[in-house]
């Protein structure tokens, strides 16, 4: 999941013909001043923090400017902010348009229908979660014919657009559909979509690109997500790694087993601090890397819960033992292991030779690791 910042989303919009306010990005107050001074951003303008979290307006991360000086000051103020834990490094400056109504439009996936779904509401400019359901229209779109005329007409009706504005919506919807399909988006959201005279303008852009399609989109590889530094390293090593608030590290394989492990730990008073999903590897080196990464996170105790399938128990045991030799003494932590499934006997033997006992019961092993981490925190 690659969440694009507003300006990156708008770059994509521009390429596909979604109408936008004139604007540009600045990374310093000087840049911002220059953009307004040389007319690339007309006045009056709006200056917006480029952060992924919502609620920028209320949070002081959006300001208005009617002069070069005000634009510079607004940029300077916003570039100093830390907004919901995220340091603001970029601002987007855009002309302030005389807008009419604020609408909502998005395309995303409906998993149950297995179809893209076009969501429209005349109640734009607020978080869509706060709009009552009857005010939100949902239309599935089949990828074979793509977006059709009747779907566009229905959207226009829902949004209260006629004449030139309805024709503008037609073109905009085609462009948004193209963005969704060609950019492998999970979400394309325009909120607000504003009426400006007889036309439409996307005032905001929220685009989320699917990770799994990255082989088609090398251009998104460099865009950072909202990951912690350790999560970023894990991503590079292709290890699923998530940091939580507790002190127990969990290494498991498969999302379902990982979640079940967390559920059991919590039941016995444990607080998971990191979880690390080995997935379906059968390379001992990857297990070693994962284990060393876990050591970096300084857990109070680690629970290794593996059910061998594609990942064989002996592979995990081998990788684990290799990693244990590399962890410096000051970073050592208590380890509770439970390995079951394919090549279980071989794995248990390898662990035993390294002094680790595998506890076959999930319940007992979970209780053991909670105790090792110091009980209920």
């Amino acid at each position: 999941m690659v969440k694009l910042s507003e300006w990156r989303g708008k770059e994509i919009f521009r390429r596909h013909g979604v109408p936008l306010p004139r604007g540009a990005v600045a990374r310093s107050a000087e840049d911002a001043e220059a953009l307004v001074r040389d007319g690339r951003v007309p006045l009056p303008c709006v200056v917006k923090a480029q952060v992924l979290a919502g609620g920028r307006g209320k949070g002081g991360a959006v300001r208005f400017a009617t002069s070069v000086e005000e634009a510079r000051a607004a940029a300077a103020a916003i570039l100093g902010l830390e907004f919901k834990g995220e340091k603001v490094k970029e601002v987007l400056l855009e002309e302030k348009l005389a807008i009419g109504r604020e609408l909502y439009l998005s395309l995303t996936l409906d998993r149950s229908l297995r179809l893209p779904i076009l969501i429209a509401s005349a109640q734009g400019g607020v978080e869509i979660e706060t709009v009552e359901d009857a005010q939100i229209d949902r239309q599935p779109v089949h990828p074979f014919p793509g977006l059709t005329g009747y779907e566009k007409r229905r959207a226009a009706k829902v949004l209260g657009l006629t004449g030139g504005a309805a024709r503008a919506l037609d073109r905009l919807l085609e462009a948004v559909w193209t963005v969704f399909e060609q950019e492998d988006a999970e979400l394309v959201e325009i909120n607000p979509l504003a009426t400006v005279g007889d036309g439409l303008v996307a005032l905001d852009a929220k685009v989320i690109i699917e990770d799994d399609a990255s082989f088609r989109h090398p251009e998104y590889a460099e865009i950072r997500d909202d990951r912690t530094p350790l999560e970023e390293i894990a991503r590079e090593k292709e290890i699923a790694f998530v940091q939580l608030d507790g002190n127990i590290g969990v290494i498991a394989n498969g999302a379902g087993l990982t979640m079940a492990t967390l559920d059991v730990l919590k039941e016995f008073g444990g607080a998971p601090g990191v979880f690390l999903d080995l997935g379906g590897t059968d390379d001992p080196k990857k297990v070693t890397e994962a284990f060393l990464l876990m050591a970096e996170a300084r857990p109070a105790a680690v629970f290794l819960n593996i059910f061998g399938g594609v990942t064989r128990c002996d592979t995990v045991a081998t990788g684990l033992v290799a990693a244990m030799r590399q962890v410096p003494a000051e970073r050592r932590f208590p380890l509770v292991a439970r390995i079951r499934g394919n090549n279980e006997a071989e794995g248990i033997a390898i662990l035993r030779a390294a002094g680790v006992t595998s506890v076959p019961s999930l319940k007992e092993s979970a209780q053991a690791v909670v105790a090792a981490a110091g009980g209920r925190p």
């Binding site: 297995r114 939580l244 999302a255 079940a260």
Partner: protein
């Protein structure tokens, strides 16, 4: 045939010369599956684990009478591989490959559906019917022939749970690992009627996880159309909202899609819901005794 596979299932392994393809061809054969062909373009004439390799699925169908596919090819080529299988007349395809873009899977799903091909997966363990056939990667060791059906969105958690049922002295009729991706070929709602109609299944274990509404949809089906006892488990009750738990199927969305909404839907549909995986075997045994089936 009971549920989708039986002793007449003749499997073609697409991507057989890759590491995973080779390993699991061997495992499927050990399970008793008739693996009759492999496909790797350009490798026709060779053999893998005693299985002849062809250049195309069409050749595998025409010359080795394959009627089911197990797909291991890398994600960028998985869509092509599935469409090739559909066009060659394959009507059951297990897609093991993970990380297939959902936009590709939308095309795969709707194309296969139009042509009458059932997809299991992607990113899934596949299907196994002990004593009959396996098309996929579920470890052989966890099974024993029996009368408990299992459907699950998870991978290893499924193995864990099936293993628990087997260790408890019970056995399985058919187990399907549906995969946890945003778009799956076979969902709970699609799989439930197969087990309802299966004379070899007495009870169904449904293993879900947070994210999506497949469990809620399944519960709705169970309420109206499913007559056998159901034991369910939902993984991820302790997951913090909004954090990704390893794959896109595990994003917590607001309202429906939470562990609470899934558990409530299943309970109100009459399922017994386990709080932890290790509670499942006792619930299964209890429900079977209650039904007089054990």
């Amino acid at each position: 045939m009971t549920v989708l596979v039986d002793r007449d299932t003749r499997v073609v392994v697409q991507g057989i010369t890759g590491h995973q393809g080779t390993v699991h061809t061997r495992q499927m054969k050990l399970f008793g599956t008739q693996v009759v062909a492999g496909v790797t373009p350009g490798k026709s004439g060779s053999e893998v684990e005693g299985v002849p390799v062809f250049d195309s699925v069409r050749d595998a169908v025409e010359r080795a009478r394959a009627n089911a596919a197990c797909i291991f090819v890398p994600a960028p080529f998985a869509k092509d591989a599935l469409i090739e299988a559909v066009d060659a007349g394959i009507r059951l395809a297990t897609v093991v490959t993970e990380h297939i873009p959902f936009h590709d899977m939308l095309v795969m799903y709707h194309y296969a559906k139009a042509k009458g091909t059932r997809i299991i997966g992607p990113n899934c363990p596949g299907i196994a019917s002990p004593g009959k056939s396996k098309v996929g990667i579920i470890p052989n060791v966890v099974f024993r022939p029996g009368r408990v059906g299992v459907i699950s969105r998870s991978g290893t958690l499924t193995y864990e749970i099936v293993n628990g049922i087997t260790e408890h002295g019970l056995g399985e009729s058919t187990c399907i690992g549906l995969g946890g991706d945003p778009v799956v070929g076979t969902s709970f709602v699609d799989a439930l009627p197969l087990f309802e109609a299966d004379p070899e299944t007495d009870l169904l274990v449904l293993v879900g996880e947070i994210g999506g509404t497949a469990e809620e949809d399944g519960a709705e089906y169970i309420r109206h159309h499913f007559s056998k006892p159901v034991v369910a488990y939902i993984a991820g009750r302790s997951a913090p909202p909004g954090k990704r738990m390893g794959h896109a199927g595990a994003i917590i969305t607001r309202g429906r899609g939470t562990a609470e909404s899934k558990v409530a839907a299943l309970e109100s549909a009459g399922a017994k819901v386990a709080r932890f995986p290790y509670e499942i075997p006792d619930l299964v045994a209890g429900a079977l005794t209650e039904k007089g089936r054990r």
